[in-house]
């Protein structure tokens, strides 16, 4: 196990290197520079700006300079926000987005797994259709839609929850629900499918035949294996939650990193694009690794073996 993890971390280095390098050059190919504005700027001013941010150097020099600094943890100054460094902005934005992502995942798992498991117990009956239909609404309602809708209902009509911001726990309910709901639908579908697969297998029947209660069968045996597809999905889902938090952060006026990530691309804030991209690739590598490790844990036969031994 440890060897496996170390190997995966070693493999992450070339991934990061390729991502950083590709991004570094791609952003420079994209038309429009960080200092282009609607009003014409004199050649002298443009020159001064480029000199200030090292952009007057040949591209390969810029690249090696950047890599040298990045390895030491210095992601450079933001081009859009003159007084800020990328490292500093990441430090303030990341914890917020991370918190949002975690709550969203909790919502997604809570709603998704519940709906999926309930539905799988009695396929093709009302007990299947109702929770599945409910959870699927999450997909039809993308965050741009669900966010404002939730705010209208809970924030403006009932006045139960604040319409924007990220301070108290009341502030955190609607945004995390908004961000999580799309994933809830996926999880519901995947867990229903996985559960059906497992519940139809012989070892479950064996377990039932041995007189285990239905609850024990579902919770002790079926769920671990049945949630396999969900577990493969969680890795990319968490990464997606974090990098896809832009809409939710914008709708709820939250000071997270998702906004920087998207706005930096439109602003051609080269260093900020690179910084956030590197950050997200680290997280993708990490969460995919985590989900692979969990896949081992969830292997149904492994579980069956141990429980048989216990009896």
């Amino acid at each position: 196990m440890l060897k496996f993890i170390i190997k995966r971390f070693a493999a992450a280095i070339p991934v990061l290197l390729v991502v950083t390098t590709l991004t570094f050059f791609l952003v420079r190919i994209a038309p429009g520079g960080p200092f282009d504005t609607e009003k014409a700027v004199s050649a002298e001013v443009m020159q001064a700006l480029k000199r200030r941010y090292n952009l007057d150097q040949p591209v390969y020099v810029q690249y090696f300079d950047y890599m040298k600094n990045a390895i030491q943890g210095d992601l450079g100054p933001s081009f859009k926000y003159p007084g800020r460094t990328v490292t500093e902005m990441v430090k303030t934005g990341l914890p917020v987005t991370f918190e949002l992502g975690v709550y969203a995942m909790i919502w997604a798992l809570l709603i998704g797994v519940t709906a999926g498991v309930v539905a799988s117990l009695r396929p093709n009956t009302a007990q299947d259709y109702v929770p599945m239909t409910m959870s699927m609404i999450g997909i039809c309602l993308p965050s741009v839609l669900l966010g404002p809708l939730l705010v209208l209902v809970f924030g403006l009509w009932f006045e139960w929850l604040p319409v924007s911001g990220w301070d108290s726990w009341q502030h955190k309910i609607l945004p995390s629900l908004t961000l999580g709901s799309g994933y809830a639908a996926y999880i519901a579908r995947l867990s229903r499918g996985g559960m059906l697969e497992i519940l139809s297998q012989d070892f479950i029947r064996t377990a039932r035949a041995k007189g285990l209660s239905n609850t024990a069968v579902v919770f002790k045996h079926a769920m671990r294996g049945g949630l396999g597809p969900v577990i493969s999905f969680i890795g990319p889902a968490i990464a997606g939650l974090l990098s896809g938090s832009f809409v939710t952060e914008t709708v709820f006026q939250i000071q997270g990193i998702g906004r920087f990530y998207v706005q930096a691309a439109f602003n051609r804030d080269y260093t900020m694009i690179l910084g956030t991209t590197v950050l997200f690739s680290v997280m993708i590598v990490f969460f995919n690794l985590l989900s692979d490790i969990m896949a081992v844990w969830a292997n149904p036969r492994l579980k069956f073996e141990t429980s048989k031994g216990a009896r």
């Binding site: 196990m1 060897k3 496996f4 190997k7 995966r8 992450a12 070339p14 991934v15 390729v18 991502v19 590709l22 991004t23 791609l26 190919i29 994209a30 038309p31 396929p123 093709n124 239909t133 699927m136 609404i137 997909i139 039809c140 309602l141 741009v144 839609l145 809708l149 639908a185 996926y186 579908r189 995947l190 229903r192 499918g193 996985g194 059906l196 697969e197 519940l199 139809s200 297998q201 012989d202 396999g228 597809p229 577990i231 493969s232 999905f233 990319p236 691309a265 439109f266 694009i273 997200f280 690739s281 993708i284 896949a295 081992v296 292997n299 149904p300 036969r301 492994l302 069956f304 073996e305």
Partner: protein, 309 residues
């Protein structure tokens, strides 16, 4: 072997027998498909979903001949009006008939939904199966390529595509396929890793079947369940992604529209002109539900044991 296969190494099979059986079933072909069809027909929700999707597709095909108005004709003086006898579903803020725009939009959305998903499916399933089947170094390398694709900044990628190729529907499929396939690949790979060490696969290897045959005949049929489920979910999310890309300038060019674009336009004014959101949203939801019921039906129908319980 090396690292990645470790995920199953410690799991000596015990329900392999049942797995092997289902593998054999798939192998036997025709009777399975006939059985599946019979089972599918018995599932009323699935059937209803299927019928809805077929009629929707037919309507999309004949839209240019049956649409009540043109999709671009404006009536600025009328502006956004609620459903009426003249405009059954109302008009948008430029006074264009919403029903007509939804009908034309379905052509774009269905095409994008199905084609882009097909692209993602094809690449994702093949890639995931091969990666999981080969295991070891090859799997490691292939999965790290997937990680890299996940990590690249999507918007920059879209902007570059747009600048290099201009506005093009084909590009839209490519861009969407490129975004959607890695997740599919990861899910499929996870399943294949589990299957790979099982007896029926090892038996197939021992029998000297070629890798190609093992993948196509034994592995892919056995991961169909999660694939179908994930596909039915990918189609609607692809339709919504299309709206985002079109808005950025990569896909559909106004005044032409799509469901996704109609929904995001409707979301802007959901309090003032709710019908602009409700009707396109309704069509998309119905499509999604139909897809899911059909998908579930298919999954159950293709799994011989599910119906025995």
């Amino acid at each position: 072997m090396s690292a990645a296969t470790e995920t199953v190494k410690s799991a000596p099979g015990s329900d392999e027998l049942s797995r092997a059986q289902s593998g054999m079933d798939v192998e036997q072909g025709t009777s399975l498909w006939t059985d599946a069809w019979i089972r599918l027909k018995r599932n009323r929700m699935a059937l209803a979903g299927g019928i809805f999707l077929v009629s929707l597709t037919l309507m999309a095909l004949v839209t240019p001949w049956i649409a009540p108005y043109t999709y671009e004709g404006q009536d600025l003086q009328l502006g956004a009006s609620a459903p009426s006898a003249a405009h059954w579903l109302g008009t948008d803020t430029l006074g264009r008939d919403l029903l007509t725009r939804i009908m034309y939009g379905s052509r774009i959305s269905l095409m994008v939904g199905f084609l882009a998903t097909a692209v993602a499916l094809l690449i994702g399933v093949l890639y995931g199966t091969i990666s999981g089947f080969l295991g070891g170094r090859a799997d490691m390398l292939m999965m790290r390529i997937v990680d890299t694709l996940y990590a690249l900044p999507f918007i920059i990628f879209v902007i570059l595509l747009m600048v290099i190729f201009g506005r093009n529907l084909l590009l839209l499929f490519m861009a969407i396929g490129a975004v959607e396939w890695p997740t599919m690949a990861r899910i499929v790979r996870g399943q294949v890793l589990n299957l790979r060490r099982q007896e029926f696969v090892e038996a197939a290897i021992a029998m000297g079947l070629s890798n190609r045959k093992i993948i196509l005949r034994h592995l892919i049929p056995n991961v169909l369940g999660p694939i179908i489920v994930y596909t039915t979910l990918t189609i609607p999310s692809v339709m919504l992604l299309e709206a985002f890309l079109s808005f950025l300038g990569l896909g559909v060019q106004p005044p032409m529209s799509s469901w996704g674009l109609l929904i995001s336009a409707g979301a802007e004014s959901m309090e003032e002109y709710p019908w602009l959101l409700i009707f396109p949203g309704l069509v998309l939801s119905l499509t999604l539900f139909s897809l899911n019921f059909l998908g579930d039906g298919l999954r159950d129908a293709l799994d011989p044991k599910a119906s025995k319980d």
